[in-house]
Amino acid sequence: MSEASAPPPPDTRRLILPKVLSSPVAVIGGGIVGFWCLVALLAPVIAPYSPVQQLTPFQQPGATDATGNFFWLGTDHLGRDLLSRIVWGARRVLFFSIAATASAYAVGVSMGLVAGYLRGWIDDVVSTIANIVLSFPVLVLYVVLISVFGASGSNIVLAVTLASAPGIMRIVRGIVLDLRNRDYVASAQIRGESALYIMFVEILPNATTLLIVDACLRLGYVTITIGVLGFLGLGLPPPEPDWGGMVNETRAMATFAPHLTLFPCLAISSLVLGLNLLADGLRETELKD
């Protein structure tokens, strides 16, 4: 955040792509993320079997069973094809991480804009609530919330929103406090624009580049969170695959079937790594400007 009152960039969306391409780190990260997005989108085409179809249990990677079914990554204890489960799992994991992050952003950004622009008692109330929520160790908060509301997709979105929105709110509030005294805000005020217009049309577009970096990092955290909740048995309900849950179901068999836990772990780690690299690369190009 520079103090100089730079003119608002004309169109942030158009500026993002060249920025990604100018950083090799961001390109690698973006490539990994893009790969998983493609896998998620094309899951019905890529996956050789249904993720819940029970074929032959405990096939090793690259094995062919008696009926001639071939398994690239082997099968699990219920005879489900691991590759199909990872591919469909990508769809489920990405869908819920993006949904949860988007929902957290919607709430966090609105709260941050209101708190930072309007100040006064609204700011006090919003900031106090944020401080209280943020004083919980994050996973403890998730465990408590999920055990109260129950484990389901929508409750995970709800829990992530509750736990992450305060952090987003703090960042947005900080940016708004920095931007609210700029000339273009003052001129909009003199024009008689409504507070809502100023917050969303004048201020928010100037915060987007910073928020995109934060969103990449946060999407990584949320992916980890959904994986961890799945691993702890508090995540998305079975039998549809999610990577964390797959590890939880099969970790007891690690001595004779380690591939069952290794591949889902590789999947989630590579996705989060991609998101972190993308954020890192974007931040560095951001600093260069």
Binding site: I132, S135, F136, V140, V143, V144, G227, V247, P258, N276
Partner: protein, 300 residues
Amino acid sequence: MMLATMLAVSVLTFLLLEVNGDSVVVKVLGPYSTDEQRALWLTANGYDEPAFLRYFTWLGDVLQGDFGDSIRYRAPVADVLWPRLTNTAILAGVVFAIMVPLSIAAGVLAGMNEGGATDRIISTFSILTTSIPEFASAVFLSFVFVLSLGWFPATSTMTGGFQPIQLVMPAMVLVLFGFGYVARMMRASMAEVMQSNYIRTAVLRGLPFHRVILRHGLRNALIAPFTVIVLQINWLLSGVIVVEFFFAYRGFGALLLEASLTQDIKLLQACAMVSVVVAVATQAIADIGYGFLNPRVRFT
């Protein structure tokens, strides 16, 4: 402020877990209990009173160290909680004793020469370790050190008394995950200090390089990461849940998860309260310590 936060959190915990007496009784007596049994239990345990009265009764008990009885263990929560907390404290202590010096050293080495080969290796390694969720690194490390090499035991149940070797795997996972974050903070801070005028002066005065780093650089570079390091205690409270569950270590994190999975309300409440008290206390330590290290903030 600290007290206010804790009070607010206690209200929140209470609201979330206990305000609805009907759902509590189902968890205590099970789904097959009759309506009559439930009504009797609710009256016997004071659930007929209004929620805010119950809150103050509960808070008063908690302040006296009485967290109520655990449904699962059929024992006072306090008796279950303290040994578990001790176990986690041991694990956390080991993790800190390894992680802090290691990540500071790595951060200093990387930040001393920004953009150099050492910096690139350390930075890449730290972004890699922060990207791997704890349960995944537990799987990877177990595969290497337990299944392939057979160096360490697969679980850390400590059934045959306290065995330090069983601490290795859980500690390694936690160190690895926390390392990257602290190292990156330390690196950023060190790189900033290295560009300052007093370092340039010290170098130009012809002091030996290690003296410049140790006497002038390190002391100032440690100020900013101090907060991050103290706040790692807070993060560790999350990390231990995963790691203790994975390695079946009988600590606080595993207890919290168990309380959640078995819907043991009193136990879950106590665990949540303890973790929040620890978290708020570390926040306070971080603030006070920061003011102590950096006199500039004391006047603002």
